[in-house]
Symmetry: C2
Subunit: 481 residues, 2 copies
Amino acid sequence: MGSLGHSSTMVDLSHHINAKSRARHPSPLKDIIKFMGYDGMVSFAGGETRSSRYLGDVDNSPVGSGAGNRQLIALAKELTERVHSPPCEYECLLHPGNTNAWAKVVGLLCEDDDYVIVEEFTYPSAQALWIPLGIKAVPVTADAAGIMAKNLRHLLSRWDERERGSRRPRVLYLVSVGSNPTGITISAQRRREIYDICVEFDIIIVEDDPYYFLQYPGYGSPIETSFTPKPIPEFLNTLVPTFLSMDAQGRVIRLDSFSKTLFPGLRLGYFVANPVFTERLLRATEVETQDPAGLSQAFVLGLLQKWGIDGYLTWLQNLQFQYRTRRDWLLDTFSAHFDLLPAEKSPIPEAQGFVVCVKNSHGGKVKPIFSFVDPGAGMFVWCKFYFDGIDRFMEIEKPGKSKDPEQDFANELWQAWATELVLLTPGSYYHAWQGPDKMSTAARGVDPRTAHFRFSFATPTKEEISTGVVRLAKVIAKYWG
Amino acid sequence: MGSLGHSSTMVDLSHHINAKSRARHPSPLKDIIKFMGYDGMVSFAGGETRSSRYLGDVDNSPVGSGAGNRQLIALAKELTERVHSPPCEYECLLHPGNTNAWAKVVGLLCEDDDYVIVEEFTYPSAQALWIPLGIKAVPVTADAAGIMAKNLRHLLSRWDERERGSRRPRVLYLVSVGSNPTGITISAQRRREIYDICVEFDIIIVEDDPYYFLQYPGYGSPIETSFTPKPIPEFLNTLVPTFLSMDAQGRVIRLDSFSKTLFPGLRLGYFVANPVFTERLLRATEVETQDPAGLSQAFVLGLLQKWGIDGYLTWLQNLQFQYRTRRDWLLDTFSAHFDLLPAEKSPIPEAQGFVVCVKNSHGGKVKPIFSFVDPGAGMFVWCKFYFDGIDRFMEIEKPGKSKDPEQDFANELWQAWATELVLLTPGSYYHAWQGPDKMSTAARGVDPRTAHFRFSFATPTKEEISTGVVRLAKVIAKYWG
């Protein structure tokens, strides 16, 4: 927990807790746990099983405490203090992975039929959770530095409850580093602007940040041929400051995970948040999931105890190097098969980042295929494809042919690639859910004659990337000529 | 899955799925997974992380499938077929422990402000989950053979929607073997009666059954000095038939767990249910928790593959023997300090099971302290204490002294025991939640001048049990004389 000196800047945010969460009572069984620790106490009040005696107590915390192993929580706090130095009071609470953590945050803050502010393209499972509750997304557009502060302010200052049929949003959900799907990392300057707006309009920021430690230098910057770790303070200085690090008021709920940094399927992470929120999240934990799996806790605890926090931060640098290498493999392969132009020198100067064009060795007209922002973190390259002037698209676009020509052509492209044995993720999966009437490209009011696809470079080998891009290029040649 | 021949007895139960669960869509990301298996496919659609390459793929299922490891599911089916032979179509779906499984079932079936039918004394965390949703319990009283069928029928046939302010209950929640807290196991005959009533009134039975394999012979039956396993079919014959084993219609949702049979904190179990329900539960799994932790899956899969189903069923017999031994330690110690009378030969012939009385070596008046049903399964002895004629209780009961003398005296007793360094679990923790106006002993309409306490014999050693009962007896002597 932060020192008591921080508490002067904290504000009372308990009004953000929704009605159902306020109605939770502590599980009465937990009251007894504190008595169990008395010297010489004989307890007939236990609930754990006999078999634990045979296999050993992998989890040192009282079974069913709903809070997780004490030593692991202490290490999570040490890591938090080291990396974020939050300027507010906070607690760490273990959770079984960010998917469940986000489900608990929705259960904590949202009422049915609320709006949640999200990036224009957002993680589909996060939305799939709340769509059945009648909750809708209200998207904010982004540039290469993240969601645009002026658009956020505009949205909030002009919110019309009557027209929207719901109160002004109170929750901003962000994957603020190496966003899934866009790969965008919100800059430090933009974060300060966004935080100030959230103070002004009393918004809780949910910082879902599994890729925080996977930040790496931009494409084309010098690269070592092998991995050499930096001193820890120098490494930490290369990372963008988090919302938590600027959270004087206690309005950031951070979702941290070990799944993306140690191995997938661990189902182990932790909340960092205002004690007002962690207390209620603990109540939900007791009845919805209990502690994360004991083996996962024991594994991570053992590793962190052996490595120390410094050792973990060194491991993360290695991981960062691996991801940077893979990002470079993919972009190098793009570069080998196509012309990669900086947006401002391309036929689409308003694009962000790079524009990938048909290879133009004989100086003809430059033909754009897609653009992307160089991902400085995470594992995704988010590509905006341009359909203008493509014969097949223009055929689909003819009046009466299709209700959503962009989506229909994107589906056709996806199928053509799959037939050539290369898979991308369709961009439509990531559209912010604004209700059933805002599904088509036109209804969403986005750039016509474009659609997105997501590349993940996390799993394929260098050879697979090469083979995959050759197959992509074959289909592109067919359509783009 | 059961053979196709079963499907003729299945009925359409899809109307039980609540509005929010019906509104769930499959997570679109999952659609792509099937394409990933194509021979020679290069996938840029992956989401798993780099680190899995270093640590090895502990989980053979596609990451994020939301369904669990295929081989483990196959073993769960094999075990289900062997033990329950369900006469209906069913699927097995992994879940991260019965607490979460029950949360998902409430999310599947219950609407806010519903009633759920429970045993008169029920597991508090199960209730704590739905109290904030406005859901209330409607309790059914039990005898030593479980909840009484005629009371269940009475409740359902006379349900008055207007008076209750809610539709007739559709869900019956039961820990039907070694119930927590009562230790009661519902008899085969009673189960058939209950199942028939559930068919008649269209009720879904949720069979939360973590203690199923911890059934053991009654107190006083012959005991071997050391463990000798029975042949598997003989062992299975000693177990009461489950609701699932008589479920021709597909209206039982079974919650199975490895946490109570392998070790606590595994957070791994499985649903067995009608495919109509498992399909929706899978949708919830995708967005609320994902698969159970990979290490837990790998551990259980490895163990079951090494042991085989027969080996697991032999391990369970050993565990059963351990629990039986501990139950005997506790009841033997009761017997050493008090007089244990069969209820019908006691001063409280209407009691169930045994009545524990003040030791009466000189033939005076028999003074009852508490009664209990010999637990034939699980890890709990549920004791009903009798306060009639206790001086201190009669003082508290004097007009104007206390709004709930039974509860106040029970609290005083609990404190007195804790001061002597022995802990029991207060019975009040397990009262079915009927709303804030039905909290006191009088308002609940139960036997006056009584209160319950729960003993768990799962954790203390033989010596601790002995020490604990001496301490209990000391306080009892003070009050009961």
